[in-house]
């Protein structure tokens, strides 16, 4: 159901040492946030993406689809950083005049926007390098090596398991509601969604009780051995 998760288990790099993959990806991620050189950022983007496509053999169509959503998001966030209001016209490269002030962009804001765009794109490529080549079971090994508190790792592991159970349940509930015209207009949609969420919550409590009993019968001593 989650496409990133699916790709992570089905690529040519999925069996490579997870520490190496995470190490390289994370080092490049930090580098792309630290490095102000536009050519350097371009090199990171090119390098990481070519590894993903040529070495890991990730489906190009899927990858482009994965890239578009965050990129569109970033582009729109950039609007507010490019445009600004001023009373003098001299700084602007392009501007629209209003009664007594101008809205437009200047060389400085434009350069800054290009920098942010490249930085985001480089960082995004690095994060995709980590998540698309490293499955979650391998990531947990990495978390362990990073000495993240034991409690947090346990919760992360359990959560990862539950997410897919719930996504399945939500899909089933949603289809059942949709078949009964549950989302035909705004008012019923709210009600349906409310019912869906509260049903999910009730199921959580039921599952919790069931799992507690199951753990007790397995002589649970308060620790998940990962």
């Amino acid at each position: 159901m989650l496409i990133i998760d699916k790709i992570a288990y089905n690529n040519r790099l999925s069996q490579t040492n997870p520490y190496l993959k995470f190490g390289v990806g994370f080092a490049l991620l930090i580098l792309s946030v630290l490095w102000n050189n536009l050519w350097g950022l371009g090199a990171i983007i090119l390098g990481v993406n070519s590894i993903l496509i040529a070495v890991a053999r990730i489906n190009k169509k899927q990858y482009i689809k994965l890239l578009t959503i965050p990129i569109v998001f970033i582009l729109f966030s950039l609007i507010a950083t490019i445009f600004y209001v001023s009373k003098e016209k001299s700084d602007f490269l392009f501007s629209v005049g209003f009664s007594n002030c101008y809205i437009g962009y200047s060389m400085i804001t434009l350069m800054r926007a290009i920098h942010i765009l490249l930085r985001s794109f480089a960082a995004l490529s690095c994060i995709y390098f980590i998540t698309l080549t490293t499955g979650f079971n391998q990531l947990i090994l990495v978390f362990k090596k990073l000495r993240i508190p034991k409690e947090i790792i346990e919760i992360i592991m359990l959560t990862y398991r539950f997410i897919f159970i719930f996504l399945e349940e939500v899909a089933e509930l949603y289809i059942a509601q949709e078949m009964r015209f549950g989302y035909i207009n705004l008012k019923t949609a709210y009600r349906s969604l409310g019912i869906l969420v509260s049903t999910l919550f009730t199921r959580i409590v039921m599952r919790y009780q069931d799992m507690s009993i199951a753990l007790d019968t397995k002589l649970y001593d308060g620790e998940f051995y990962i």
Binding site: S77, S120, F121, E151, T159, V197, Y220
Partner: protein
């Protein structure tokens, strides 16, 4: 075209932006410069540690609560992946943080919210690892804290419970939105007006979409809270993490 009316341009601009921004209030990967990545992480870590300390205490008393916390984390994550019908016709995503804060308290929500953000960054490419500190500060610390405070405060004043839940959830959303705008404004000040002008810009860009979202989240949280109480004769008390309050 030289003299366009401000309201008209603003409306057109916002209509273009609106469907995209309903995606949420996450700061994307790599969007913040390095110094702000560090600053927000440092600001956020103490809250996380406080929540973790509480969790450790709860786990020491009853190790089975680990499952409950993980279930709630998965629940919030799945909620954030749901589509929420909103007034503008497009869909937005409920955060579920308000509900969690009301039921479990803000300190535990800081840990749960952070793990949810981590999963969103890794499984949905929504948010990011470098911006995790900043996002967690606005969404897992400030949002739940405001929701919780509003809820407690209004309950004490004997306000109608439905109104309390609505106000808590929507004000928590709005607080998150203000903090995110400030974070962006501090990192990218306006060349003329500085941080203040930039803050106004970011706030107004988000305004048109965030107000309906906050209201929608308030309504939805209200319905869910109501149903949870109706389905369980003991009300919310049954879901409280034992030994926390």
């Amino acid at each position: 075209m030289k003299k366009l009316s401000i309201p008209l341009t603003a409306t057109i601009l916002l209509l273009i932006i609106a469907p995209v921004y309903t995606f949420g209030m996450h700061i994307m990967e790599g969007f913040l410069p390095f110094e702000w990545v560090i600053i927000w992480s440092i600001l956020f870590i103490p809250f996380f540690m406080l929540g973790l300390k509480d969790l450790k205490k709860i786990f020491a008393r009853d190790p089975r609560q680990k499952i409950l916390i993980a279930l709630v984390t998965a629940f919030v994550f799945v909620l954030s992946a749901l589509k929420l019908p909103s007034a503008t016709g497009s869909s937005s995503h409920p955060t579920g943080v308000g509900l969690g804060a009301i039921l479990f308290g803000p300190k535990i929500m800081a840990v749960i919210g952070t793990i949810v953000l981590l999963f969103q960054a890794l499984l949905l490419a929504h948010g990011g690892l470098t911006t995790l500190g900043a996002n967690a500060f606005s969404m897992a610390v400030v949002g739940p804290f405001v929701s919780y405070t509003v809820f407690r405060f209004m309950r004490k004043g004997n306000v109608n419970k439905g109104l309390c839940v609505f106000a808590a959830a929507s004000l928590g959303d709005i607080a998150t939105y203000i903090v995110t705008s400030l974070q962006l404004a501090l990192a990218f000040p306006d060349p003329v007006g500085g941080v203040t002008a930039s803050a106004v810009k970011f706030l107004s860009v988000f305004l048109l979409t965030q107000i309906p979202i906050a209201a929608a989240e308030g309504i939805l949280t209200n319905i869910v809270y109501d149903l949870i109480q109706k389905n369980n004769p003991e009300g919310e008390e049954a879901y409280e993490i034992k030994g926390y309050k």
